[in-house]
């Protein structure tokens, strides 16, 4: 498909700006190089972007079981609420008495999300999960620094963790201590005990973990870290399995980030914007990024926490994303939160059961909201890899599961159906998975060649990295 720069012709344009009704002024040092932007009519513009949209598979195009990403349905009412002029047309630096509704959104979302997570305070500044991790780790750092406990320089991370965990720890100035997982994918408690000490600042963990198993030793794990003087960070990527059932705060976690774009139904937008809100216990509240919303004299105010780590972003966060998440929580409410979790887990176990007819599971059942298959034996037997199966799914209009993650499982496919998929859809999808397993034995070459029905076929990623072409250059 042509690039927008290759369409239209110089002189084609939309008519958008009026004539200047005041005397025109210009800079003395003005731009000298020509500005090469597209020149198209409105017809061409809308056709181009519509064509691009058609070359994208979203949740509304079909099944999207991308493990650890919680691709649940994004309710339409959320979009309507975020677009209300009373939200979209509000300047972030308006007088506080004119933004009481926006502050109420933040205050209400904080109250509800603290209840769901068992936390005491929250910041909405972080724009994504990784940004939340960074913020949470800075809270831990500020806490230790404030107590003059400066020897704590290490963050413990299990080897099954998402790559952002160690990367965030380094950005916060910490050294990373990787600890191995046990055979069941859970934290090796003895390895943890051996790893903690006076240099431990904290532990980063997700529970259920990245292989979809609830770590039953969780209370002992958080206790070991606390007794060593460290704090416990909860990566909320997998909260969808347990919200309303069990709370990270009750597991012993001190600080947590939520991915509102996963658990709380806000759309991913092809990679963002998300929201990585950070909740914390009372002991960390004085360090939260400021400003935060507080009630005063029957109204809402913006106040600076006493020992704030400072800002992690301009203004207050991805506000319109928080409006969507709040709308979702208000819609499904007290009963709907655990109902969503239970059905996410039910759906995952249902698919796990059906697929274990042929596929090898990396871990025993039951799973939580997702499960990991290992295609190592299929690969050994037929030469068909996890990648080949994933590409085969594309020809059936199914978004593949997360591939080759977690790193501790060979030929991994990680499946997370979410609660918003029906039995009917999952039955159809399972049939395709099972067909592809058969095809791996009868016609492996077909899978090596897949996909064939997509707008493009397998792309040369090695060549792209070796000879980077990162922008269009006029021929």
């Amino acid at each position: 498909m042509k690039l927008i720069f290759e369409k239209g012709a110089p002189g084609q344009h939309l008519t958008l700006m009026p004539a200047c009704d005041v005397p025109e002024v210009a800079l003395s040092q003005s731009r000298t190089e020509p500005l090469e932007l597209p020149h198209v009519s409105e017809t061409e513009l809308t056709r181009h972007y519509t064509a691009l949209a058609k070359r994208v598979h979203g949740v509304n195009d079909g099944f999207y079981p991308l493990g650890s990403c919680t691709m649940k349905y994004n309710p339409k009412i959320n979009e309507d609420m975020a677009a209300l002029p009373g939200f979209s047309q509000i300047h972030p630096l308006q007088p506080v008495e004119t933004v009481q509704g926006c502050l109420e959104v933040y205050a209400e979302a904080e109250k509800l999300l603290c209840e769901i997570t068992g936390m005491d305070g929250m910041t909405f500044q972080p724009a994504a999960g990784a940004h939340g991790e960074f913020t949470g780790l800075l809270l831990i750092k500020a806490y230790h620094t404030h107590r003059n406990d400066t020897a704590r320089t290490k963050i413990i991370v299990p080897d099954s963790a998402h790559g952002t965990n160690p990367a965030s720890a380094v950005m916060a100035g910490y050294t990373v201590v990787n600890i191995p997982s046990g055979k069941d994918g859970c934290v090796d408690v003895e390895a943890l005990r051996a790893a903690v000490g006076p240099d431990t600042a904290g532990l980063m963990l997700t529970n259920p973990n990245t292989v979809g198993i609830f770590d039953k030793n969780i209370l002992e794990i958080t206790k070991i870290v606390h007794e060593a003087g460290g704090l416990c960070y909860y990566d909320g990527a997998n909260l969808n399995a347990v919200m309303g059932i069990v709370r990270p705060g009750d597991m012993g976690f001190d600080v947590i980030h939520l991915n509102l774009h996963k658990t709380f139904s806000t759309p991913h937008g092809g990679g963002g914007p998300g929201a990585g809100s950070v909740g914390c216990k009372e002991i960390l509240k004085p360090f939260l990024p400021g400003p935060v919303v507080a009630e005063k004299d029957g109204g809402w105010q913006l106040v600076q926490p006493e020992h704030s780590i400072g800002r992690v972003k301009n203004f207050y966060g991805n506000f319109a994303v928080v409006v969507r998440a709040l709308t979702y929580i208000l819609t499904i409410g007290r009963e709907g939160i655990p109902e969503a979790a239970q059905n996410a887990v039910l759906n995952a176990n249902y698919m796990m059961k059906k697929l274990s007819e042929k596929y090898t599971m990396a871990y025993e059942s039951p799973c939580m909201h997702e499960f990991v298959m290992t295609l190592q034996d299929l690969h050994d037997e037929t030469g068909v890899s996890a990648m080949d199966i994933a590409k085969g799914l594309l020809d059936h209009g199914i978004h593949p599961p997360t591939m080759y993650f977690p790193l501790i499982v060979h030929e991994a496919l990680m499946i997370e159906p979410t609660e918003t998929e029906s039995q009917e859809t999952m039955d159809e999808v399972c049939d395709v998975f099972l067909e592809l397993w058969d095809l791996a034995h009868t016609g492996p070459q077909i899978l090596h060649n897949a996909p064939t029905k997509t707008p493009v076929r397998r792309l040369d990623e090695v060549g792209a990295a070796r000879n980077p072409v990162l922008k269009y250059t006029k021929a």
Partner: protein, 434 residues
């Protein structure tokens, strides 16, 4: 209560029996039972109609001003209808990061086009796929310039204070030293650049600066390079249509808040951080980058590339932890720049700047004089005897005045959205108040 779970109880029971368990509680047998929550203290769920009423009522407790004369990091510009329409396509809205390139060509190509447009706007050679906002882009830019021998950064005092605060927080994490270059008459004090430390990694300035003033960006760049440091410019993307590009000023990294490119002010977010660099620096760019390649049949296609910099490959050795970015906002900016074209963007810049100058001239007649001399773009600072009174009088007429900076100073902003009539009306309100 509302629900998005499609399965009926009968279907759930059928699924449970396939799995071979009695109830969903059985899945949670591994959870320490003393931890299980009885019931959350949350309100009961609501119907869609009730939710609509409740949330709309919240939005009505905000005030939408008829005229906005305030910027300071969030700018209300005209957004063409085609932009809103195109970016609401649900394929784009509901997709994840384009990990499966074959079914994500629309997103990948749009990012490639966005990268090209950011390079065109800034004159830089390489752009990434976006970061969270202008403040985090600035903070990430400091980290890009750090090396073993140079770990100190300077930021001009004439930078948006929220950007400086964000840099400070990032530096608290990374251990980079951050110092502020003093201001002189509303601009970065050029003299102060002569005495920067030998371990300086980079110097950051904003153009136009926080007060709306144009910096002598070329001269600053020369001084920075003479000290062996990298030069980072944070630029307003609308102003780039008419001002000297960061590339022409010698910048090694150009970043900025791209919210003015078609995004609502939306109480501060989501916005869009753009980041672009010279070819020499591009492997240090954080986050996603899209590259052009071809498929097995030789057809052109696009992929996420140079991933060896990123957290999912490098883990603790990654250049940044960024994973999700602001893809849909970058898409929006791309559609906006396409709709505007070079001429439309230039007109938006000229209209904003000209109206700001007209407004400043009229204000001067009422006694509100500019605090600084020299060139400015679409923002400027005035002083008067009672700023509060001025702003209150405007407020009473449904006009959001400039941002009070203390000491009776006000930072004003005018964009193309404000008509001459609105300016004249604001001036007459101020005249009466003073």
């Amino acid at each position: 209560m509302g629900t998005y779970v499609p399965n009926t109880q009968a279907q759930k029971d059928a699924m449970l029996s396939v799995i071979g368990v009695k109830s969903v509680q059985d899945f949670y047998a591994g959870v320490p039972q003393e931890m299980l929550v009885d019931s959350l203290a949350l309100p009961e769920g609501l119907s869609e109609l009730e939710v609509r009423q409740k949330v709309t009522a919240m939005s009505s407790r905000n005030r939408v001003y008829g005229t906005v004369l305030r910027g300071a990091g969030a700018y209300r510009h005209f957004i063409p209808a085609a932009v809103k329409s195109v970016v609401s396509r649900e394929e784009l809205v509901t997709a994840y990061t384009p990990y499966q390139a074959e079914i994500s060509q629309g997103i990948l190509q749009s990012i490639f086009e966005y990268q090209t447009m950011i390079c065109a706007l800034t004159g830089m050679e390489v752009s990434n796929a976006s970061v969270y906002d202008g403040a985090t882009a600035a903070a990430e830019a400091l980290a890009m310039c750090r090396d073993r021998k140079r770990s100190r950064a300077y930021v001009s005092a004439c930078t948006d204070p929220q950007v400086i605060e964000t840099m400070r927080t990032y530096c608290f994490g990374s251990g980079m030293a951050l110092e502020v270059l003093p201001e002189k008459d509303g601009r970065t004090d050029l003299e102060s650049l002569k005495s920067i430390a030998a371990d300086t990694a980079c110097v950051y300035i904003q153009q136009p600066n926080y007060y709306g003033n144009m910096e002598d960006a070329k001269a600053i760049g020369e001084a920075v390079h003479a000290a062996g440091a990298k030069y980072i410019m944070g630029c307003n993307p609308i102003a780039l249509a008419v001002m000297e590009t960061p590339a022409a000023c010698g910048a090694d990294v150009a970043v900025g808040e791209a919210q003015p490119l078609g995004l609502d002010i939306a109480f501060g977010g989501p916005y869009l951080g753009y980041m672009a660099a010279t070819k020499a620096m591009f492997r240090k760019l954080p986050g996603r980058i899209v590259g052009q390649t071809h498929d097995v049949d030789g057809n052109t296609g696009y992929v996420l590339t140079l991933t060896a910099r990123e957290q999912h490959i490098r883990r603790e050795k990654a250049s940044s932890n960024i994973c999700s970015n602001q893809a849909l906002c970058a898409f929006t900016a791309g559609v906006y720049m396409t709709a505007m074209g070079a001429e439309g963007l230039r007109q938006a810049a000229v209209l904003s700047m000209s109206k700001a100058h007209y407004f400043a001239g009229e204000l001067k007649k009422t006694g509100l004089k500019r605090v600084h001399d020299g060139e400015y773009f679409h923002e400027f600072v005035t002083e008067c005897t009672d700023a509060e009174k001025v702003l209150r009088a405007l407020d009473a007429q449904n006009i959001l005045g400039g941002l009070p900076l203390g000491d009776n100073k006000i930072l004003w902003c005018v964009t193309e959205l404000v008509s001459k009539n609105e300016i004249d009306r604001a001036v007459s309100v101020i005249k009466e108040a003073c």
